[in-house]
Amino acid sequence: MAYLTLSNISKQFGDSYAVENFNLDIEKGEFVSFLGPSGCGKTTTLRVVAGFEIPTSGMITLGGVDITDKAPNQRNVGMIFQAYALFPNMTVSQNIGFGLRIHKEPESAIKQRVDEMLSLINLEKHADKYPYQLSGGQQQRVALARALANRPQVLLLDEPLSALDAKIRVSLRAEIRAIQKRLGITAIFVTHDQEEALSISDRIVVMYEGKAEQVGTPFEIYNFPKTQFVANFVGSLNNADAEVLDPTNGLLSVDGVQFRTADAEMVNRRRGDKVRISIRPERFSFAAEPLKDNVVDCLIENITFLGSVVRIQVKIGNTKFNMDTFNNPFLDLPAIGSKEQVMCSKEAVLVLGTA
């Protein structure tokens, strides 16, 4: 049995479902991210685990114990908020020791644990400061230490990096992941930032309209999206309408240009079916091996420099596609308006639905 299980969780507000029949098993020590756009139900699901929302139906077990009806203060669950939520009237040490004092631990044990936590977040010198004297990043580290001081069974992080600037966000997410791994604590991380989710998680739950669209490792989610929504939400994507020419051999036509796909579901389709195909921009490259799959003629329409990546807009048939290539100072880019050949593997051509 999994360490944390969410079985058929639904949460209804009025007539609409914020979360609907949500199922998830999380193993001990696993770092799982809930990823999705605003209003997809990710925060509601997290709040259900925390006990701040009572599910309309379903059951949550933690370590084999049913905690569905337990009050938030009886769940041994640590929570980190987007707005830090440090107690302004308490110093850093007092904030970290708050939960331990609630549990009436001896003063010596509290001091020892607070010192341990301060050392964990490298803020020993700030122990006597008040929250307003710290930067956003430091405050969130204190919030992390405060949540961990109680030795919670699960750590819940509700968009903890959203209020921070880009550089701090990247360094703090690495720090959170390192601490989580070191302590082996089970964590659920809510974010709408795909890069954050991809970089930090053992598994990602992509959510849409209250449901889990796909659960998988970051590699699976990015490379093998199961739905159009997941493919579009995670990473950039080229979408095009296509017609099935030969289902057995995975042959498709986009505006008369033939593409081959490795999609296993193609055998269930019929010749003439209209489908929607998706290709990631980085899966295209200029054709150096003409005998490979999907070598097609194209017209270079535009070139955009994006820093580490150069995005080239090409026209294949009547359809525009983006193609990404890593930047390097000696990159030999084609001229705008020139005719070239680009290629992609048949595995790169994803068939994610009917057009």
Partner: protein, 285 residues
């Protein structure tokens, strides 16, 4: 681009030109407040003919009735503050936390004491609690007249004062709760294992220090200056004493009025000191 910069400079310049008039208006406004105060102070110091002295103050403070009524008013004010905090903090907290849609209704209720004249409240209290409380439509008395006992009278007076202070106290506390984001702090404390009592006493109340003090001092000022309820319910508080004194004496009421002003200014100073510090805290965050 340059043109717009020019306009900005001109506007800034205009603003500087107007600062002269700003000072004029400020000066006139200040005169409006300071002149009567100065006149009161000046008058209170001229009890002795052709001589500036504190005789009026000495006489006013030496009167046994002054100390008695002043202490009585202060005690009532302190009790009113405690009752207000006890009633309003949990109510405002719960409304913010669980019943945000009820906020407008509650705000409307709290301003009723401003809309309805104090004399109506005072007579209402006198009528209801000045007679035995009976079971409706019967002659069966549940209690005697509450206003017949000293404790009962004090109880009714404090409740009346609490109603009068409600709009100021409620708004002070509600604003404080908005500033500290009570919802998130509550959830953070809950996730750390705290129960409701701990959350209110150790997380919410300490973070409302500024707004509580501000509400408390405003309540204090209302209670100490209140005349209507005290007069109708026949309680000898400071303000009716001051009014009575004004009927017979000239200089002592002026002295006590000025002393009251000083007391209120001191209160405002304390509010500034405490809430000013909290304002800095918030902005630093």
């Amino acid at each position: 681009m340059n043109l717009s910069r020019y306009h900005i400079t001109r506007r800034t310049g205009d603003r500087r030109g107007f600062s002269f008039w700003s000072w004029i208006w400020f000066f006139l406004g200040a005169l409006y407040f300071i002149l009567p105060l100065y006149a009161t102070l000046d008058f209170s110091l001229r009890m002795e003919r052709d001589k500036i002295s504190l005789l009026a103050y000495q006489k006013a403070f030496a009167a046994p009735e002054f100390l008695k009524t002043f202490i009585y008013s202060n005690v009532l004010a302190v009790i009113t503050i405690f009752v207000s905090i006890l009633v309003i903090v949990p109510a405002a907290y719960w409304i913010r936390l669980r019943l945000p849609e009820a906020r407008r209704v509650i705000e409307y209720i709290t301003i009723l004491s401003i809309v309805i004249p104090a004399i109506v409240l005072a007579h209402g209290l006198n009528t209801v609690y000045g007679a035995p409380i009976k079971i409706p439509f019967t002659d069966v008395a549940l209690t005697g007249a509450i206003l017949n006992t000293r404790f009962g009278t004090n109880f009714v007076v404090v409740m009346g004062y609490t109603v009068l202070a409600l709009p100021l106290m409620y708004r002070s506390i509600d604003t404080g709760m908005r500033t500290v984001d009570v919802l998130t702090l509550t959830e953070a404390a809950q996730s750390l294992g705290a129960n409701w009592f701990t959350i209110i006493t150790r997380v919410i109340l300490p973070n409302l220090r500024g707004s509580l003090l501000s509400g408390a001092l405003l309540t204090f000022a209302i209670v100490v200056g209140e005349v209507t309820i005290s007069t109708v319910l026949y309680v000898q508080t400071f303000s009716p004493y001051l009014w009575l004194l004004g009927q017979h004496r000239a200089y002592e009421p002026a002295a006590l009025s000025f002393a009251s002003f000083l007391m209120i200014w001191a209160s405002m100073g304390i509010i500034q000191l405490v809430t000013g510090g909290q304002g800095q805290t918030s902005s630093a965050r």
